[in-house]
């Protein structure tokens, strides 16, 4: 009797260990890492409306940065965002996605300039907002929160480390693209992963998603 009990115990243990290793190695669910809590952001969009990190809760937000007179360093992100917008519109969105381009030129880029930027980029107002904010708050949000450097340079413009940030519906930073040439496939893959997670991680499936975090099932 005791022997059978012991065998049962060993079998259960073996199943648990193999199951755990299998999940960790095969990675049936992929998630994006939770890098940290995204910063609180207060912005004014191209129509003069308020756009804050709170009103953006529940949406997957892809932040990018730039300013109206910005040339080369902002082009890479803009090209990718145009394509992200096109593909998301084409395939439909199960979970709302918002693209936000923040201008850190708070003096020059008021709503009228932001509207011009949006028109030049071909931004769909339902999907892609251009916004700016109060200089000090922006510095804390972008510099302190996202840790993206920008600062005025001698040429009356800005020095800036090109970057895009992907924040999920809970306001958690999930991906950073710190490069002047972000890869479209990577950005789209990450947005789709977040959409899948928001759609599927309910009820019991939520624990599977938590396990995926625990075992670092990252793409």
């Amino acid at each position: 009797m005791t022997r059978w009990l012991l065998r049962g115990l060993y079998a259960t243990l073996a199943v648990m260990v193999i199951g755990t290793l299998g999940f960790a190695i095969l990675q049936p669910i992929k998630v994006l890492p939770r890098i940290g809590l995204g910063p609180g952001i207060v912005l004014v969009d191209q129509d003069g409306g308020s756009l804050t990190s709170d009103t953006l809760r529940g949406k997957i937000v892809l932040y990018s940065f730039g300013y109206s007179r910005c040339e080369a360093p902002c082009r890479g992100a803009q090209t990718v965002l145009q394509e992200v917008q096109r593909q998301l519109k084409a395939e439909g969105m199960a979970v709302p996605v918002q693209l936000v381009t923040i201008s850190f030129d708070t003096v020059h880029d008021g709503p009228p300039v932001l509207r011009t930027m949006a028109a030049a980029a071909g931004a769909d107002p339902a999907l892609w907002a251009f916004a700016t904010g109060e200089a000090n708050r922006l510095k804390y949000a972008i510099g302190g929160g996202f840790e993206v450097y920008y600062g005025p340079n001698d040429a009356d413009g800005f020095d800036y480390d090109p970057a895009m940030m992907l924040v999920d519906g809970w306001g958690i930073l999930r991906a950073e693209y710190r490069t002047p040439t972000p890869k479209l496939e990577t950005v789209l893959r990450d947005v789709r992963l977040l959409m899948e997670e928001a759609e599927n991680s309910e009820g019991v499936a939520r624990y599977a998603y938590e396990a995926a975090h625990l075992f670092l099932c990252y793409p």
Binding site: K139, G145, E147, Y149, T179, L214, L216
Partner: protein
Amino acid sequence: MNNHTELHIHPIERIWIIISFAMIGVFAIAVLTAGFAYGFQLPVPEDRVVDPNLVATPGATAFGEPGLRELSPGNMEARILAQTWSFSPKEITVPVGTKVTFFVTTKDVQHGFHLEGSNINFMVLPGQISKLSTTFNTPGTYNFYCHEYCGVGHQTMYGQVIVTP
């Protein structure tokens, strides 16, 4: 049943066998925990990879002009370029209470970076950017130095963080 008794293992030896196997178990658990639960992994993320041949060229990477930059009030990043046998910059000055994120890479061989009195202690490998943050809460002078032997001038490879009140 009596087969067991024929193989005599001295009790002390038995204890050592158990201890040595337990150690293997503990190490295996430690490695798995570090890898899976805490995410220590190689290779480094895409944005922390750099071409060591281009790293010192101004404009090519952020290390072209190494030094301090302010992200926001009280939050700075320090880019430090290591080479045989010096760090540039050799000295940085920050006000007390500042959080500083150190990004360190090398343009030649492998170096080390240790900042006294802080949690900052890492290898500096060509092609990779090492990154750690610390907050300087006490004014004073903190030395940093290379702690991986990197050649005949290794002992001259050091610098200072000066924290002003």
